[in-house]
């Protein structure tokens, strides 16, 4: 864990912290949506520096965590039964499926490869014309342009052995779902900076209007987070609810129109199941009909039973900000990064993993066979 003195701009961080302390007069619950921000808040020790009135709860912005169990099973099925080269971001590898994780399938001989970019998967398809290459396309709006582009590249190259297993989710419907949950008591949001680099800030105005909560688009460095929290607290204390942009150096109101164009060329909005949560209406992207041949779900008839989630894991409540990781009875006991029960314990953006690694919440780390 880092200390304030090690920050990029410690003096500025201290000023924000003091300003937050001066501004706050009563308890407020604020959610940072993005798992990268959760990670930064915990790793940089910010949670423990904030005045106790401010309760930061951690949102569903971890693409790996919300990818449904059955899609992991399907990815494994494509590699094991259809002989596909299944490519994925490294983060996905340890996430438990119903029987095993991608990593376990790989150890048993399935051709599963970690790539940095979906564009590399297209290259792989070019190099292996005799094999089917499937990219496990998870992600929020930030990642959607890259995944869409991979389909466009494959199309331009005339490849018939490339497809994506799409598990794309969107931030604004997630905020809506969190607010609609009766147990939710969230009063303000930090929206994810890089998502807004692509999508801009306009989508948040209707949410602010409807739920009367401040939404502050925020970066992920300590100083950004502190400023974002300060802006949110100022609004809350004065009874305001507006969209504000802390991350203006990276985020423009209209986002990146070219990137949006590429997304909508390949994807359309659809209902999507969020792991541990529920089906959230219009909360994800699916491949458009015009590109159906690049959609692994349509291309390969994958008829495997959908197994329910492991009931032991309360990831849904954690990702809606209802519970904190240490409130899970398995946290640090039965569930650890080595023997994860749920995805938030393995993803680098998962709240459980962040608490496990950095917050000193666990002092009795234990070994357990998988």
């Amino acid at each position: 864990m880092k200390f304030l003195s090690e920050y990029r701009d410690p003096a500025l961080a201290r000023r924000y912290l003091e300003e937050i302390k001066k501004t706050v007069t009563r308890p407020w619950t604020i959610m940072e949506v993005c798992g990268g921000q959760t990670h930064s808040l915990v790793k940089n020790g910010i949670l423990s520096m904030l005045p106790e009135e401010i309760n930061m709860v951690h949102g569903p912005g971890c693409p790996v965590c919300v990818t449904p169990l059955h899609l992991i099973d399907k990815a494994i099925y494509l590699a094991e039964e259809k002989g596909a080269i299944l490519c994925s971001f490294g983060d996905m590898l340890r996430v438990p499926g119903s029987q095993k994780s991608l990593l376990e399938a790989k150890a048993k001989g399935a051709d599963i490869r970690i790539l940095y970019s979906p564009l590399e998967a297209v290259k792989l398809a070019q190099q292996h014309p005799d094999r089917q290459v499937v990219f496990f396309a998870v992600g929020f709006e930030t990642t959607a342009p890259a995944n869409a582009l991979s389909v466009i590249h494959a199309h331009r190259l005339g490849l018939n052995n490339y497809s994506i297993l799409a598990s794309h989710v969107l931030v604004p419907p997630a905020i809506e779902a969190v607010m609609e949950d009766e147990e939710s008591h969230i009063q303000g949001f930090l929206a994810a900076g890089h998502v807004c680099t692509i999508m801009g800030t306009l989508e948040y105005y209707p949410l602010v209007e409807r739920f009367k909560v401040p939404i502050v688009v925020t970066g992920f460095e300590p100083v950004d987070l502190l400023q974002g929290i300060l802006m949110t607290v100022k609004q809350l204390e004065s009874g305001e609810a507006k969209v504000e942009n802390q991350y203006a150096r990276m985020v423009r109101e209209e986002g990146n129109p070219r990137a949006q164009e590429i997304i909508y060329q390949v994807f359309e909005v659809t209902d999507r199941l969020w792991r541990g949560m529920e089906v959230i209406p219009m909360s994800g992207y699916q491949v458009k009909e015009a590109f159906a041949e690049y959609d692994a779900m349509r291309k390969f008839k994958v008829n495997i039973p959908e197994v329910p989630e492991n009931e032991d894991c309360m990831a849904g409540e954690i990702m809606k900000g209802i519970k904190k990781p240490y409130e899970c009875p398995h946290f640090g006991k039965k569930c650890s990064p080595e023997t994860p029960i749920g995805a938030p314990m393995v993803s680098s953006e998962g709240a459980c993993a962040a608490y496990y690694h950095f917050s000193g919440m666990v002092n009795q780390a234990k070994e357990q066979p998988a």
Partner: protein, 97 residues
């Protein structure tokens, strides 16, 4: 995997009869390819924010350097660029099966 990392464009090349622009981007010396399709105006020596092989915006040099330094100190660069040793996948394209 949601992070975007700033790097400097050191070379640009066209593919698909000029339809696609790919760049070589240096992240503190580590060079990776990135598509410039979302930032058509980007050119050599510009700094771009790169996410999973795609540049998503142009950033100013000073900002890019500060952000990169922060990410490096936090150990995020290696993880995001998928170059650390702990990753189990070291295979090339030809083995397997």
């Amino acid at each position: 995997m949601c992070l975007a990392i700033p790097g400097k464009i050191i070379a640009v090349e066209s593919r698909f009869e000029g339809l696609v622009r790919m760049a070589k981007v240096s992240f503190g010396g580590i060079v990776k390819e990135a598509s410039l399709e979302m930032v058509p105006q980007a050119k050599v020596d510009d700094y771009v924010l790169v996410h999973v092989g795609v540049a998503i915006s142009i950033v100013d040099e000073e900002e890019a350097k500060k952000t990169f330094q922060y990410l490096e100190e936090m150990g995020e660069v290696e993880e995001e660029l998928n170059i650390s040793d702990f990753l189990p996948d070291k295979q090339t394209d030809t083995n397997q099966r």
